[in-house]
């Protein structure tokens, strides 16, 4: 019974879905490779700030160029994969998980598309991926965490995304 209660994977409302996990703290810094700094630093900082400026009781800090950050961003040319970026969250053992306590996240950016993408698309992608690091799953209709039709029309958290974030971390 206890195992079942602790491992409930999803919490859904009408407009947001959470994975059922969260960070061990409300303050997490992000770091990035030199290449990511060169190519996307302003977008990453803007996207982090777009979450920080909401009422979600969580703060992203800029940790500079390093691979040691709890949230680590890196970019590579992965080819015409069809995706712009992917995110994985990890528990304290370094195992990928979503319904658990997070100790690390990794965001991989595909330069094949992102280097030439529009500004709004880049902001949508990075802010969306930061939403995953917080513990937010895809949810429709259209807002930042949507994966069906939003496509660059939203570049920062909207009310449903914020509601999802505050349901996990509380309100500032």
């Amino acid at each position: 019974m206890l195992l079942c209660l602790l491992s409930a994977p999803l919490v859904a409302s009408a407009h947001y879905v959470t994975f059922g996990g969260k960070w061990y703290t409300n303050n997490v810094y992000f770091t990035y490779t030199q290449s990511t700094s060169d190519n996307y630093l302003s977008v990453v900082r803007d996207s982090a700030q777009s979450w920080n400026s909401t009422s979600v009781n969580f703060l992203f800090y800029d940790g500079g160029v390093s691979n040691a950050g709890p949230i680590w961003l890196l970019d590579q040319s992965y080819g015409a994969t069809g995706w712009s970026a992917i995110t994985e969250n990890f528990n304290s053992f370094g195992t990928t998980c979503w319904a658990c306590t997070y100790y690390k996240s990794k965001i991989q950016i595909n330069d094949t598309y992102m280097l030439t993408a529009t500004g709004p698309w880049k902001h949508y992608v990075i802010a969306h991926e930061l939403g995953h690091t917080l513990g937010l799953d895809h949810a429709n209709p259209s807002h930042l965490m949507s994966n069906d039709g939003t496509a660059g029309t939203v570049t920062a958290p909207m009310q449903h995304d914020i509601d999802g974030g505050t349901s996990i971390y509380g309100t500032k």
Binding site: C4, P9, G82, N140, N147
Partner: protein, 183 residues
């Protein structure tokens, strides 16, 4: 207290500690049979017409063999697909289709909405050439351009997508006719 009783008490305590440790272990989330990552797909397709326009080749095929290649710490799987039927595009007997994810060690790493193809599965595939000189194709829109075909009926790979849901239960031949009518 006798040795027998002490033994049972010790055993019970060890068992209790074990249960508590397992219960509070981070990452004990249920139903995580695979290590999943979350993906932002570049394109969102509203219907089969959009998938068809974006595809160089549309086939019905059966998954044969697969090989995994690591690229910058991320697995990619190349599937050899035996082409049972070309719906649209040049005639071919066999194609290689590349999918993000794969089996690494004894664990599967895959996108949450794009499960890895299974050997022997019959799939309807909307395919796009790699475009970078590599010999493989990618599925258009990740999970959006792939449908299972089972018993002559179409089943969605990702039922959260409207383009996939719309084909659920459709007769395989009806989907073939729909694609061909677009040319």
């Amino acid at each position: 207290m006798g040795k027998f009783a002490k033994g049972w008490i010790t055993l019970a305590l060890v068992g209790l500690v074990g249960v508590v440790a397992v219960s509070f272990r981070p990452g004990s989330g249920a139903a995580e049979s695979a290590d999943t990552f979350h993906v932002v797909w570049n394109d969102s397709f509203a219907d089969v017409a959009g998938l068809t326009r974006a595809a160089d080749l549309v086939i019905i095929g059966t998954v044969q063999t697969s090989t995994v290649e690591m690229v910058h710490d991320l697995p990619f799987t190349n599937y050899v697909i035996k082409v049972d039927r070309v719906i649209s595009g040049a005639s071919v007997d066999e194609v290689t289709v590349r999918e993000t994810g794969g089996v690494v060690g004894n664990r599967v790493r895959q996108a949450d909405d794009d499960p890895m193809m299974q050997s022997g599965a019959r799939e309807v595939l909307f395919l796009r050439k790699s475009g970078d000189g590599n010999p493989w194709y990618w599925v258009v829109g990740g999970p959006q351009g792939r449908f299972h075909s089972m018993g002559g009926r179409i089943q969605p790979v990702d039922p959260t997508r409207s383009v996939q849901r719309a084909q659920a239960g459709v007769d395989e031949q009806a989907l073939v006719d729909q694609v061909r009518s677009l040319h």
